[in-house]
Amino acid sequence: MVGQDVLVLLVPALPLLGAVLIGTLRKRLSAGLAGGLATTFLAGAFACSVALFLSEHTELGGRTLRLFDWIHVEGMMIPFAFRIDALSLTMMLLVTGVGTLIHLYSIGYMHADGRASTFFAQLNLFCFAMLLLVMGSNLLITFIGWEGVGLCSYLLIGFWYTNPDYNYAARKAFVINRIGDVGMVLAMALLFQQFGTLEYATIAEQAGSLLTGNHLVVLATLLLFVGAMGKSAQLPLFTWLPDAMAGPTPVSALIHAATMVTAGIFLVVRSSVLFELAPVTQDVILAVGTATALLAASIGLFQNDIKKVLAYSTVSQLGYMFAALGMGAYDAAMFHVVTHAFFKALLFLGAGSVIHALGGEQDIRRMGGLRGSIRITYITFLIGTLAISGLPLLSGFFSKDLILAHAYQYSPVVFALLLGGALLTTFYMFRLFFLVFHGSYRGGAHPHESPATMTIPLIILAVLSVVGGVLNVPHLLGGHEAMKHYLSTAAPALGASSLHLAAAVEWTLMGITTALVIATVALTYRRFAIAPTLDGDSSSMPMPKRLLAERWRIDEFYAWAFERPFGWLSTQFHAVGEQRVMIPLMVGFGAITLRLGGLVRRIQTGNASFHLLAMLAGIIIFLLITLLSN
């Protein structure tokens, strides 16, 4: 078993090693070399994960690998330990696998950048943190990764630090995540007080004794969900994700599409036991998820920045996953996490390739007709688009359909809403696709295909996006939900959700969905492929559309509601609170005493007979005191 443990250790250790190594030697390493190192380290991690995946007997429910006592106080014992079970293994595979591809891709993408080695160091560091997050055996370890990925995301978003907007975006991302973390910390505090431990396993055991709706558990889950909101960009904490596109595209692909943003979902799945006990929270999650899905999709409709569109679609997809979680369909959520990781990474990388091809151009209005010049990108991007739109037999189809089915079973209304969201997704994705690749080129650059290091990952991801569905083929299509069964060993709740819809109903649902999607594609084709209708400046749009194009003005609202008041408060506290109150308060005593001294001093008039008089007065007064008090 020792070999196993070493493997387990290697998984996070390798990226960390890479990060430290590259970080310290970053001056000497060339971009390519650094990239190579980083990729190999992560590939190694991937290999270890695969080995573990093959060798671990997860059907026994996983095991805990305990390294050392981290925080050890009388009454609080937080070991530094890893939990190896189906869930963590899945995530490890996902992180390392997709991570490796994106690293590879980055070699090509960043070759020109002077600080490429720094970039790779941070990228590796991120992977390390992410792995801690998914492998941690208790909330606090997860929290380490949780904050670690936050930090890396901050660093990578603000990678091009000379641009103030990027720095702002980075700070925004970090701060909003921190707001979520408040929830998480409190949740941990509560859970600790409740269970006296933060170990997932122990909590799971003890939670069995609690009955559903225990208000402390509800509170805990709500707080946890606040944390998830922050990480996974759910309403109302989602505004940072679109801005996060400021970072290099691989970063967007890895952090803001494939892995980090799904940490929220992971957290909920991890503590599914608790959420099962808190129906209230589940309803909240469902509501938030659905709302996010729709809102983000609606915003996505009329964005013109290629990466922004993808960002909003990410937010919306995350919404789907949370909706699934809200309905208790953890397996569906995880499934969607995986497939989404494939195709969204693919899309982002494709977008990156496009941007790379056009020398940094991101506005789709100045693209078009690229299908000729960059074929591989074109094809792979098409696959990605089809997958996210959920066309049959592509990975997206299975995962999304599963969620929709659960939605229908839960309530037709939710189903309708989510279906609407799906259609919106299809609409803006194909709008994007057609505007970029069809029609005629509207820009001034000379598009050229990207190097192999970039195209190979594209191809691989494209394949994955196509076949990803086989991981969890429903019974209906002759499969037997492999992934669901696999995951169910980690926690019973993961296997608990069951669809008991009549086959006919499922067929009809699929049929309706597919039909509508295809219709939408046709619509978009007519509007954007043949004769592209481009949007001008948002101010010239009709009202509802303009509101969408301006992202419901949510950023503006936040700025008005929170940022500006905060700045004002800061200034006022200093100008008034300190300068006018606190310091005067301190100096005041002294000043008053001095003033008093100035007054009392006057009685020493220097006139001899006045002094005599004063003495006499004193004597008489004292005399009176004496006689009266006698």
Binding site: R601, G606, N607, A608, S609, L612, L613
Partner: protein, 110 residues
């Protein structure tokens, strides 16, 4: 003669001596406080001392105890010495500021 004195002491209650000396004392005090002419202030001081002397003598008579009278004697000596010094200071002051007005002395203040 002696009888007369004894009777006089008998007939005049102690309180009256007290009041008399208090009165003289207060007069002296008031004088010291509100005259400006240093010479007169000195005299008022003497007045104060003498009222005390009177009181002491009265007491000694009533306690029939000579010690108080010795005390009075000493007070007289001290008063003499003090007044000498006082007058000397006064002379010096007159020499410095050609005046004996107390209010002239107000350089030192606050």
């Amino acid at each position: 003669m002696e009888q007369d004195i004894i009777t006089s002491i008998r007939v005049i209650p102690m309180e009256h001596y007290l009041m008399l000396s208090f009165l003289l004392f207060s007069i002296g005090v008031a004088g010291v406080v509100f005259r400006r002419n240093t010479i007169i202030i000195l005299m008022c001081l003497e007045l104060m001392f003498n009222s005390v002397n009177l009181l002491l003598t009265a007491f000694s008579a009533y306690h029939s105890d000579p010690r108080a009278q010795v005390f009075v004697f000493f007070i007289m000596l001290v008063a003499a010495a003090e007044v000498t010094v006082g007058l000397a200071i006064l002379v010096m002051m007159k020499r410095n500021v050609d005046s004996v007005d107390v209010n002239q002395l107000n350089r030192l203040k606050w």
